[in-house]
Symmetry: C2
Subunit: 345 residues, 2 copies
DNA sequence: AATAAAAATACAATCGATTGTATTTTTATG
DNA sequence: CATAAAAATACAATCGATTGTATTTTTATT
């Protein structure tokens, strides 16, 4: 017999008992004697029985599975968040299904459809850069499937999310540059509709204000913060009539390509210009000069988001407590912004 | 009504037709009139109907889902392989479920159990460093679930796999060092039982032999090729009575930490010692000096493996054609091994 | 208009496990 | 030993979709 086809009915027939007893035995129900349980479990192992979760989940209308949607799994922040999610989910008896939107709205929509069709018990999501319309998430809500945003969230009422304190991190990054003596600081921001970039930008502005530095509109560069964008931003920046001596980039990828371009143009980092990134990608510690950046505790954000989600699944009705958890990032000071030290040496 | 609870029976009742007709209409069966189809689809959309794949898959005993097991999604090679897998799977109408073994045998086993319970149609796997026993894969075979290894495979008969030509790549890497004038070349190898490391090692030996360089057992360092291992290897290597002027590391991670340690010990790369890695991690292009390495075409390996797996699923019986596909890697020459250039300049 | 052929739809079993209720068996008590 | 109470197991419906077969309706032909 193909062991993949072994069902509780086969076991029941062989042992001449009812399949309901087999089911209960395999689920360790107190309604079955130890003796019978042993017999059943032994036979199940012998036949290589493997429960069919499709049938089980269908009957229970519960899959014990959480869906995760991230822009890309290869980004350091997301892969560590996923590690945290898997860890927390496993502890609480949940499986995890991972989807990538690859920063595309259409993919994100289709991810949600797939998760829906597979009846996941809840969804954890970090939205794509293209996502400006949130109807697909409203669809989840209509179907009463709890969801929690982490990091990149949607600004829609009554949703739970676990977020980095992007304002504070943006503030810290900028103030660090100011403390180091940089005076004319540009900012590389991401798509305007994304809350995280708005908040990092607001933090930047607040730091300037605190230190009585004029905010100059021309020093803000919007892009998708991809590799090419960092290069383009530098080219634009160098053609400005204003002399810039510091850059706070809202991600590391753009910061790193910007540094390369700066070097190519003959500028010295951190002496002529200081650079601070955001996310603490693995590369940032290795490049030369190493990149000062904000560390986002991905693992913790993942676990917290998962715990929040599971607690909402447990409650099980509409009366979720829609909670926002704010996690603090931390500035990692590296070479790319050490004007003081470099100048002294 | 909770839209998540809408079934074909609800639609059938409302329209006063049979649920089988609804099912056929939604699956675009020719057995239903266009007029009826339109009516049904309209009502389905109105109610926010979403097929329950659990029920559908249970009935069809086919999930249209492929399971993927990788050591970690954060490694560049694996995330690009996954991109290739998703691309190919999507084209052929399959979903993909990703699992991480985190290099642990126990996790790998439990991944297989989960995939089995969820009745995936096939499995793509790259085994963990701990995997020396292949019983869990034999379990898949017993259940007649096709599987294909990619990159890190098991050397068991009658399995399909898509592999890098590790021998050739190891040969090329080593010969490149020899061409550059390095004469005493050490090799950092991985766990002995993994085929990929065996083959890279064999390639190394073959290159030495071709160029009449004696093979010296002491110059082979086995480890798990993690960050710390690169450092440890250098310390051991520098304490040898033999002067080493080249290193071929079986992965980039160990190569990079080794370079750091070499620099710390005052050795100049590539003048005093040349280094070649393996895998072409993103960091390798960015560090200084940039690392010469072997590029593994992850995306292609992913698509090829997926195509092979799906073809075996299609055949559907035991008579799989167990195929091995060998893909060529390519040497990417960067600064860490350019003795010739550096010496001339 | 009658009737055969074809088209459209309805019926009913099925996938495999779960679970409330009913029945049988065992144990305890007078 | 009788009988109630408790324990163990059996029965049967159910989750939601699919699909082979049966039935009804429509269309075509004479």
């Amino acid at each position: 017999m193909n062991p993949n086809k072994v069902t509780i009915h086969d076991i029941a027939k062989i042992l001449n008992i009812d399949s309901s007893t087999v089911s209960r035995a395999l689920n360790n129900s107190p309604r079955v004697t130890e003796k019978t349980k042993k017999k059943i479990i032994a036979k199940a192992n012998e036949l290589g029985y493997q429960r069919n979760d499709l049938a089980s989940n269908l009957r229970k209308s519960k899959t014990n599975t959480l869906g995760v949607i991230v822009p890309r799994i290869s980004r350091h922040f997301f892969s560590s968040a996923i590690a945290g999610i898997e860890e927390a989910a496993f502890k609480m008896g949940y499986n995890v299904v991972i989807c990538q939107s690859l920063e595309q709205l259409e993919r994100e929509k289709s991810n949600i459809k797939t998760l829906l069709a597979n009846r996941v018990d809840g969804v954890l999501a970090s939205i794509s850069m293209e996502t400006e319309n949130y109807d697909h998430f409203e669809g989840l809500r209509k179907r009463k499937i709890p969801f929690v945003f982490f990091d990149r969230h949607c600004n829609i009422p009554n949703t739970s999310s676990v977020l980095l304190d992007d304002f504070q991190a943006g503030f810290d990054a900028t103030e660090h540059l100011i403390f180091q003596g940089y005076k004319s600081i540009a900012h590389f921001s991401g798509p305007k509709h994304l809350e995280i970039y708005k908040n990092r930008f607001e933090g930047y502005k607040a730091a300037l204000k605190k230190h009585h530095i004029d905010f100059i509109e021309e020093l803000i560069f919007y892009s998708r913060l991809m590799e090419q964008d960092g290069i383009d931003n530098i080219n634009k920046l160098l053609s400005l009539p204003i002399k810039v001596d510091g850059i706070f980039s809202a991600n590391d990828v753009a910061a790193i390509s910007a540094m390369k371009q700066l070097k190519k143009k003959g500028l010295r980092i951190p002496i002529d210009i200081g650079v601070v990134g955001f996310s603490n990608e693995a590369i940032s510690a290795v490049i030369e000069p190493s990149l000062t950046t904000i560390n986002q505790p991905g693992f913790e954000i993942g676990t917290r988001a998962t715990e929040l989600l599971v607690s909402q699944i447990m409650v099980g009705n509409d009366s979720f407590i829609h909670e926002k958890i704010i996690i603090q990032g931390s500035l990692i000071e590296r070479e790319s912004s050490q004007k003081i030290k470099e100048t002294i040496e």
